[in-house]
Amino acid sequence: MEQLVAAILTMVAGVLVCAAYFWGTNLILDRIFPSKGKFGAVASRNLRIANSIRPWLFLAPALLALTLYLVYPVAQSVWLSLHDRGGQNFVGISNYQWMVNDGEFRQSIFNNFLWLLVVPALSTFFGLIIAALTDRIWWGNIAKTLIFMPMAISFVGAAVIWKFIYDYRAAGTEQIGLLNAIVVAFGGEPQAWITLPFWNNFFLMAILVWIQTGFAMVILSAALRGIPEETIEAAVIDGANGWQIFFKIMVPQIWGTIAVVWTTITILVLKVFDIVLAMTNGQWQSQVLANLMFDWMFRGGGDFGRGASIAVVIMVLVIPIMIWNIRNAAKEAGGR
């Protein structure tokens, strides 16, 4: 109860402080450069100066927050990555040299690459198919709601749910894992799914696909509805069948949106952490970059240098996709 009151007070105070800031700074600006009550050249000069300063008053808090929470940490990470485990002594690029030769890092890069290939492709594909199919049936909206729901679950929560699906009990005993229960029901041997090297990657990926399909579906469904009905009717008159209309008329028209969805999920996948941490913690050769970074940074006494260098690698991988994604989204928005 006490916490609730404190939280509400903080929120109210925050909003009030914001309002006071915008109101106050603008008031001061108008006091320093008054345009009312002055005449001719003075008024217009003051108005011009005030108007060129005013946007910065509104931008200032955001710029400050960006510097504090984005620019500074990036610079600090790069700086740390060039120092030893305590961040005391400059070591040059030796952290990066270590990285290239480290087996676990290579494993992580390989696994991340697998994730990158599979998850965005499957999520977008399923999202597109479901969006197209649910648009035509009366219970489509109910289906969409159900498919979208995993989006509301945190990755760790999702991992817990899927742990039950992959759960393993020794052969002969009652299987409480859904997958093993099915396998046994069909006469197979129960498996400890998440401990099978290489394949366990795909079992973890399934969780993220399960979550992200809803996201892809919602965005693509909106895009599909934006396709002009007449182009589809024209294709019907031209004799195209359902498949041809979908792949030759509809999909090309939403190609830009598909690319944005794909890259958005790609960026998410590069940063994947929670699912791996909760399911395997990188054991059985399922390590990924973000979890490896976490391991080096905070576990076993912590090696800030190596952790930061892995973080820098992740950032460098994400940036180009990010830029491309933003450009694409801007083109998509501007092209209409």
């Binding site: 002009p228 007449e230 182009t231 009717e233 024209a234 294709a235 019907v236 008159i237 031209d238 004799g239 195209a240 041809q244 030759k248 008329i249 090309p252 028209q253 190609w255």
Partner: protein, 362 residues
């Protein structure tokens, strides 16, 4: 051989009937225009012919074959949409070739037909462009070209000029007229709410209202001899003046008394039983003439003068409450606001409709 035959065609959405039994026989090569106010069902009817809307009742024949259950692509039709409906991701060439590629025509045949259509529509230099790099008029020409490539028996146009600006509309209209001359074996059906398009393009006009056919006929026939009040008012701009009247002497010639007491004798025969009935007297704005003589149709005060140069519109108050009579005078007449003016008209150009709105002219 008939181009297109509609027998008692009906359409309902659930319990709502929108087309109430249309019968129409369109000959091969004919240019037929459907006109009517918005919501009259003209576009729905066109889409039923195209196969984009299901036919609820009745039979439709294209080239003698019943097509009710034939898919659009097999009906031998091609359609030009109001919004062009070009495939935005394909070049002009691919837009026109798409239908033939689906039909697995040979490459040479596709190329020959696309180039022929492009040549006809002056699109050859744009074949590699995407639709977004074309102007509105060019886009509509591509849409027409795509339709030509289908080699249709029946060509359908759904308000193809509505998205173009005024100048382009005239140019494209003339182009469509030329096209129909060149493709004289192809039946054309054209939906519009613009009567200028209807009058200039059509061999026959079908006037529709609320899912019924009001009248079918050649453009001038509809103008000169409208079968009912709806057509009389719909064709012609400004609309025909309609004045309530009572028949006072039926016979070989009919005398009616207009609302404000003036009697007029028309060369229209009526049955003796019509004596004393309510009727509507109609005269087109352009048929009215100013007169000084005592033998006038009606008299009124000019409330508004709209001088357009070539013609001048006079709004005359004092005859029908709240509904001014409009007179269209050639040139710039010497009539000012507030003048009391007498009008007369050629007897052959007067119209008389019964209480249900049907014309007394047989």
């Amino acid at each position: 051989m008939t181009g297109l035959l509609l027998k008692d065609i009906r359409k309902s959405y659930g319990a709502v009937d929108v087309i109430h039994g249309i019968n129409l026989d369109i000959k091969q090569g004919e240019f037929v225009v459907f006109v009517g106010p918005s919501g009259c069902g003209k576009s729905t009817l066109l889409r039923m012919i195209a196969g984009l809307e299901e036919i609820t009742g009745g039979d439709m024949f294209i080239d003698g074959e019943r097509v009710n259950d034939v898919p659009p692509s097999k009906r031998g039709i091609a359609m030009v949409f109001q919004s062009y409906a070009l495939y935005p991701h394909m070049t002009v060439y691919d837009n026109m070739a798409f239908g033939m590629r689906i039909a697995r025509e040979s490459k040479e045949e596709i190329d020959r037909r696309v180039r022929a259509a492009a040549e006809m529509l002056q699109l050859t230099q744009y074949l590699d462009r995407l639709p977004k790099a074309l102007s509105g008029g060019q886009r509509q020409r591509v849409a027409i070209g795509r339709a030509i490539c289908r080699n249709p028996k029946v060509f359908l146009f759904d308000e193809p000029l509505s998205n173009l600006d005024a100048a382009l509309r005239v140019a494209t209209r003339i182009e469509i007229a030329k096209l129909s001359e060149r493709m004289s074996d192809t039946t054309m059906i054209y939906v519009t709410h613009d009567q200028v398009e209807a009058m200039t393009l059509a061999d026959r006009i079908v006037v529709l209202s609320a899912g019924h056919i009001e009248q079918v006929g050649a453009p001038l026939e509809l103008y000169e001899r409208p079968a009912n009040l709806f057509v009389a008012r719909f064709i012609g701009s400004p609309a025909m003046n309609v004045i309530p009247a009572t028949i006072t002497a039926a016979g070989a010639q009919t005398t009616v008394t207009l609302v404000r007491g003036k009697s007029v004798t028309l060369d229209i025969p009526t049955e003796a039983s019509e004596n004393g009935r309510k009727a509507s007297f109609g005269v087109r704005p352009e048929d009215l003439e100013v007169t000084e003589s005592e033998d006038f149709l009606f008299e009124g005060t000019v409330s508004i003068v709209e001088a357009l140069g070539e013609v001048t519109l006079l709004y005359i108050e004092g005859l029908v409450e709240g509904e001014p009579i409009i007179a269209k005078m050639p040139g710039i007449p010497r009539v000012g606001r507030g003048d009391k003016v007498r009008f007369t008209a050629d007897k052959a150009k007067l119209h008389l409709f019964d209480a249900e709105g049907r014309s007394y002219r047989a």
